[in-house]
Amino acid sequence: MAGGPILRVFRVVMAGAVTAAVTTVAGCGGGLHAAPRSSRSLRVGLVYDIGGRGDKSYNDAAAAGIDEAKRNLTGMRAREVGAAPGEPAARKVERVRALAAAGYNPIIAVGYSYAPALAQVAPRFPAMRFAIVDEPTVSGPNITNLLFAEEQGSFLMGAAAEMKSHGREIGFIGGNQSPLVKKFEVGYVQGAKHVNPRARIEIADLAGGRDLSGFCRPDMARKVARRMYRSGADVIYQVAGASGAGVFRAARRNGAWAIGVDYDQAKSADPGVRDVILTSMVKRIDIAIYDYLADIVDGTVTSGRIVYDLKLGGVDYSLTGGHIADIQPRLEQLKQEIVYGRVKVSPG
């Protein structure tokens, strides 16, 4: 993880320099209509979901990508526009439209709630580029969907859990039974079985169907985790949002491991439980946004879905705490095998 971003930055800076000097033909797959431009003229519009910059979560990850781009893509300017809680859908449409009308290009929408806005506005501005994070359904010749291969990151979590487990059980706690959570679970199980075909994995969901309440029930998560730890699990991977805090508490109580999700939770969780977090499956929204902007500068941007996987650095594992230092070489090797396609992870 440490080497990734720096290498990319280097690549992007180099690529930017090359493009600025030599006008290459914008080409492949729904590429930009115009010749690539230097980042000097780039005025990026970024629309946030509720919370906006400073939410220490989703939006902040996007903000980090923009900040990184501002530092490295010389002359790039960005205008960030936030959402108000409870606003009608029309205001999201207007927000994107106002940015487009003011000449901001490209426009990046953070979060699925902007899907209807992009669907409406993007066709009106065919010469401009739009991107949306985490939303596959909206499409168009000038829309890029920035998606993440959560199953690949979860595969590594399953592998790490099984390597760290003392030949006993490992657990998975999901917030609900939605397809999204299933994707994490499927990857996790594949990873564990890859390391040990006879791995025993206990799976529990905090809520049925697509009930979102499972993502904010730390008390319930704690109970479920305690039961799992007592029945022999020694590592639990939680994909349960705010409920994850309960899993960390149970892990601390039982002297066992837990695995974080989305962010490096060994840095963001309650300080009292940070040392039980073995590693975290990090989703690098910042890298996705940075890469998208770099591709715009390079003139290599494409439309449609781009899945940020292990190869593109969109999902990864964290090293904070140094708990997986002993197995890191094996994890790294596994990661490379996935990157080079020798190990296939099915999204379920």
Binding site: R79, P88, R91, S113, T137, D211, L212
Partner: protein, 383 residues
């Protein structure tokens, strides 16, 4: 200091617009309020290092474009209906804080039913509206019954019912009515033939005005007629001014409380309809929330008068809609909330000042008349 004489009412009566101002005073109060609001907002903008002139020019520019006007009307329609729902209670001293829960629950149930399309076309539209009104009325009636039979303050019960409506609504969507589109969980979309048609009210605007503007105008007229020209309205206002006096003149306060809560809830049921039948066609996580609380602010701003609330709703909607434009100027979107808060406070303060001015002026006049044959009572004028 307040309520010195019954003619001028207490502070609450004056704040809720139950005491009328006449002549030039009726004009002075809103003008003072606007001047206050502009001054305070300018100070805030200056403190934030922004140019107030640029900000107000941008606002004026934005507000005068046909497209923005249509958008302002569309949001304003929802705000106005919400304000009316709140005002019905306010006029009787009933604080229906539950308008928010009432309209959201009504919208969930109505959206689920509309998406199922049990009846075709326009009938479906009518059914959706009727069901929304019924759900709003029933949910609000719970608070009315609790107040009448158990003496539970409607402020407390409606706040709690808001929380229950949130939970109940999301349970309905996740367990029964919801379908997943991408990551968005919402009710099944209402079929095209049951949509509320838009009106090309504003020339040159590509955005149509929501058809519910007609409903909102009719509701505003009905509000005025019922309150000022019917026996029920008279009893409602009388109960609001003095419960004991109303009882003495034969008004059943219990009945009035329940009927008023039901009416307030029925109107609340309509708040989500412009969005549901004219814009989103489904209830999802993106459905506007908090409109009930906006309605409280606008009812205060408009002093419960049908015209005042219309002006307030449009002003509020204008400020909300311009937040995108202000952010393009690098002015934080929170400035809009500051402006809205300042406007409400300015209106309350300005009207109170004008009322007190009138009170003092009146007392001076009276003491002058009394002083003509004898000595002036100095103590009174010193107030």
């Amino acid at each position: 200091m307040s309520g010195r004489t019954s003619e001028y009412g207490g502070f609450l009566d004056r704040m809720l617009g139950r005491v009328r101002l006449g002549g030039w005073l009726a004009v002075a109060a809103p003008v003072i309020a606007v001047v206050f609001a502009v001054l305070i907002t300018s100070v805030v903008l200056l403190a934030a290092g922004k140019d107030p002139v640029e900000a107000f020019t941008t606002l004026a520019d934005y507000g005068t474009q046909p497209r923005s006007m249509a958008l302002i009307l569309n949001t304003g329609v929802m705000y106005y209906i919400s304000a009316l729902a709140v005002a019905v209670g306010f006029r009787m001293n009933l604080f229906n804080i539950g308008v928010d829960g009432q309209y959201r629950l009504a919208a969930v149930v109505a959206a689920g039913l509309g998406g199922a399309a049990v009846v075709p076309g326009v009938l479906n539209l009518v059914l959706v509206v009727v069901v929304a009104v019924l759900v709003g009325a029933l949910w609000s009636a719970i608070a009315g019954l609790l107040r009448v039979y158990r003496g539970v303050s409607e402020v407390i019960s409606t706040i709690m019912l808001n929380a229950i409506a949130t939970g109940f609504g999301s349970w309905l969507v996740t367990e029964h009515l919801g379908v997943l589109t991408g990551n968005d969980l919402g009710t099944r979309p209402i079929p095209d033939d049951a949509h509320m048609p838009g009106i090309p009210l504003i020339a040159g605007s590509p955005v149509l005005v929501n058809g519910f503007i007609v409903v909102a105008v009719l509701l505003g007229i009905a509000y005025w007629v019922v309150l000022n020209r019917t026996r029920f309205g008279f009893e409602l206002r009388a109960t609001g001014k003095s419960e004991s006096a109303a009882v003495a003149s034969g008004v059943s306060v219990k009945k009035m409380i329940i009927v008023t809560m039901v009416m307030s809830g029925a109107v609340a049921g309509l708040i989500g309809m412009p969005e549901l039948l004219g814009a989103s066609y489904k209830y999802s996580n993106n459905f506007p929330a908090g409109l009930g609380f906006t309605g409280i602010a606008i009812a205060l701003l408009g002093r419960n008068s049908p015209v005042g609330m219309a002006v307030g709703a449009l002003l509020w909607s204008f400020l909300d809609n311009s937040s995108n434009q202000l952010q393009l100027l690098d002015i934080s979107k929170e400035i809009v909330q500051i402006m809205q808060g300042v406007v409400v406070l300015s209106v309350i303060v300005a009207y109170e000042l004008v009322h007190r001015y009138r009170l003092v002026a009146e007392q001076r006049r009276v003491s002058r008349e009394l002083a003509a044959p004898q000595q002036a009572p100095k103590a009174e004028a010193a107030a």
